[in-house]
């Protein structure tokens, strides 16, 4: 293709995005667009899959049948989200196996929040309330992102996430209206999950890369700091209703800004976890790798069986 032709295609492509039309897999797209989307979408898919583990940790110990059923359903939804997202990513010409390989080798990232341990039942509530809450704020704008398959996957994901978020909040509410011991459990979970949740929006704007390009492609509509502020403003009143305290001495309503002011985030911790040194990075990755390796013979068998069946059909047809 001549340089001019490419330029022409690029213009059409940019105009399409500007008009809020979707880019579809068969459409021409710049290589960088494709790569960025593969990276972000697969990272998103990996987060769903790794995100099953901290919550999965409480399935066998859920405190009631109702909660056990809800938790199983939630973790199952996450597997489903992973599935949509891997499928959507595959439309960009990369296979699910390649994406898994990137996850298992440590090349691909997933959301750092899942590298914290779930150590009490209240953590299941806190994850639903805070982590899913933060995820929704990050994700709702993606329902209108430019890449069609991603946008459509996100519509389904967001609907379910907001259900999960309400469910998580309801767990917290039950604890906070329960015994003193239960309320303490809820407070303790908030103490441990609050700061990592704020880190889910990524580094501060001045340290964040890709933002401008992402804005143009509608992979982002607001900056990290804007989203973080939105999360805090939305979540603090919810904590007040629960009657538990956000673990931030500097947190207070700023009448002038119309927002909450808040304390300094421990970015050292953030980067440690991103670099793979969080409390559970090793365990999470190892668990995924084990599941994959232990499943190899099963996948091989399914493949071999399918081939045998196909052969039989061919023979019958002949």
């Amino acid at each position: 293709m001549s340089e001019k032709e490419v330029k022409n295609l690029e213009e059409i492509f940019d105009a399409k995005i500007a008009r809020d039309e979707k880019i579809e897999p068969k459409d021409w797209m710049p290589e960088k667009y494709r790569k960025t989307h593969i990276r972000q979408m697969s990272q998103h898919a990996h987060s769903e899959i790794v995100g099953m583990l901290p919550e999965g940790n409480w399935i066998t110990r859920a405190p009631s049948l109702r909660r056990k059923v809800a938790l199983l359903a939630k973790v199952q939804d996450e597997a489903g989200h992973g599935l949509y997202l891997y499928s959507a990513t595959e439309t960009l010409g990369v296979s699910r196996d390649e994406l898994f390989e990137q996850l298992h080798s440590g090349k691909a990232k997933y959301s750092s929040i899942f590298n914290y341990p779930t150590i009490t039942w209240a953590d299941i509530g806190a994850i639903g309330w805070l982590v899913d809450g933060a995820a929704i704020i990050n994700q709702v704008p993606l329902c209108n992102t430019s890449f069609g398959p991603y946008a459509r996957a996100m519509v389904r994901v967001c609907k379910e996430e907001s259900f999960h978020q309400r469910q998580g909040y309801e767990i917290m509410l039950t604890l906070c209206r329960g015994t003193e011991e239960q309320k303490q459990m809820a407070q303790d979970a908030l103490n441990r999950w609050w700061w990592p949740s704020l880190m889910m929006f990524g580094p501060t704007d001045d340290e964040s890369t890709h933002t401008e390009q992402s804005m143009k492609w509608k992979l982002k509509r607001k900056t990290n700091d804007e989203l973080r502020q939105q999360f805090i403003d939305q979540t603090v009143p919810q904590a007040d209703i629960l009657g538990i305290k956000v673990p931030d001495e500097d947190l207070k309503w700023n009448e002038e800004r119309g927002h909450y002011d808040f304390g300094k985030i421990n970015w050292d911790e953030f980067w440690q976890v991103v670099k793979g040194h969080g409390p559970c990075n090793k365990e999470r990755l190892q668990t995924r790798v084990n599941a994959w390796e232990n499943g190899q013979w099963v996948r091989d068998a399914a493949m071999a069986h399918a081939e045998k069946q196909a052969e039989k059909k061919v023979k019958q047809a002949v």
Binding site: I59, T60, S64, A79, A291, G295, V298
Partner: protein
């Protein structure tokens, strides 16, 4: 009508779903593919859904003020009446599928018959559950075929699992004294009559899967009398942990 026998009869059915559901719950997030992970979690969900229906009914029948959770989480090991088969550990995927397959085929026949019970609540639960269980049966049978007639390795693993688990199948058809009473009252299913069909159905799938049908002249039993394998205790320590640690609280 003496309700005690009915409550115990319900436990005898529901505990199988409870313990198998619990075992499946251990696997969520660890499946060989995402699709299988989702399907097995779904089976677990179905089973726990059935458990809730049964235990809500049992709680309602009870003279004591108890809930479905008291029944699920606060009995001692000797009071769980599930068969030994369902409590067996998930040694590998072949054991998971083997256990599921050997139970699903029984479960399907049981629920089919339970639809004829004189107890209308049990009939309703059976009807609803039967749709789910026929899906479970198809899923596990399909995997038996895939693994049996897949690779050399998968065939050997699947055969090992079936050979090992086979000794727990006979217990499915044992009748306890309580079962006999439930049958006499027109409420319970005479599972001993399902045996022939069961082994015929199971053998058909195994044969299609190019697997050998085990020939055993001895079997294990005990679960129906609350005498479980040593695996059961550890399953219960996890399952009961929250209810035991924080008695009387709402979640």
């Amino acid at each position: 009508m003496n309700k005690e026998f009915l409550i115990k009869y319900i436990y005898g059915i529901a505990d199988n779903a409870l313990i198998l559901g619990q075992r499946l719950g251990e696997l969520t997030g660890h499946g060989p593919t995402l699709e299988v992970d989702i399907a097995l979690t779904n089976t677990s969900l179905d089973l726990f859904g059935q458990v809730r229906s049964y235990f809500q009914y049992a709680a309602q029948l009870s003279d004591e003020e108890i809930t479905e959770d008291d029944i699920a989480f606060l009995r001692t090991e000797r009071e769980y009446l599930n068969v030994l088969l369902v409590e067996q550990p998930n040694r590998d995927f072949a054991f998971v599928i083997g256990k599921q397959f050997l139970f699903d085929h029984f479960h399907f026949l049981l629920l089919t018959e339970l639809q004829k019970s004189h107890d209308q609540t049990l009939v309703a639960i059976a009807k609803k559950s039967l749709k789910e269980v026929s899906y479970h049966k198809r899923f596990s049978s399909d995997w038996i075929k895939r693994l049996g007639d897949g690779t050399e390795e998968s065939k050997q693993k699947m055969q090992t699992a079936i050979d090992d688990l086979w000794r727990f199948t006979d217990e499915l058809f044992h009748l306890t004294e309580n079962d006999k009473k439930a049958i006499k009252e027109g409420i319970g299913v005479d599972v001993s009559k399902l045996k022939e069909t069961y082994y015929k159905n199971v053998a058909e799938v195994l044969e299609e899967a190019t697997l050998d049908v085990p020939e055993l002249n001895y079997f294990q039993e005990g679960g129906k009398k609350g005498i479980h394998s040593e695996h059961m205790g550890y399953l219960l320590t996890d399952m009961q942990y929250m209810q035991r640690t924080y008695p009387g609280m709402k979640w």
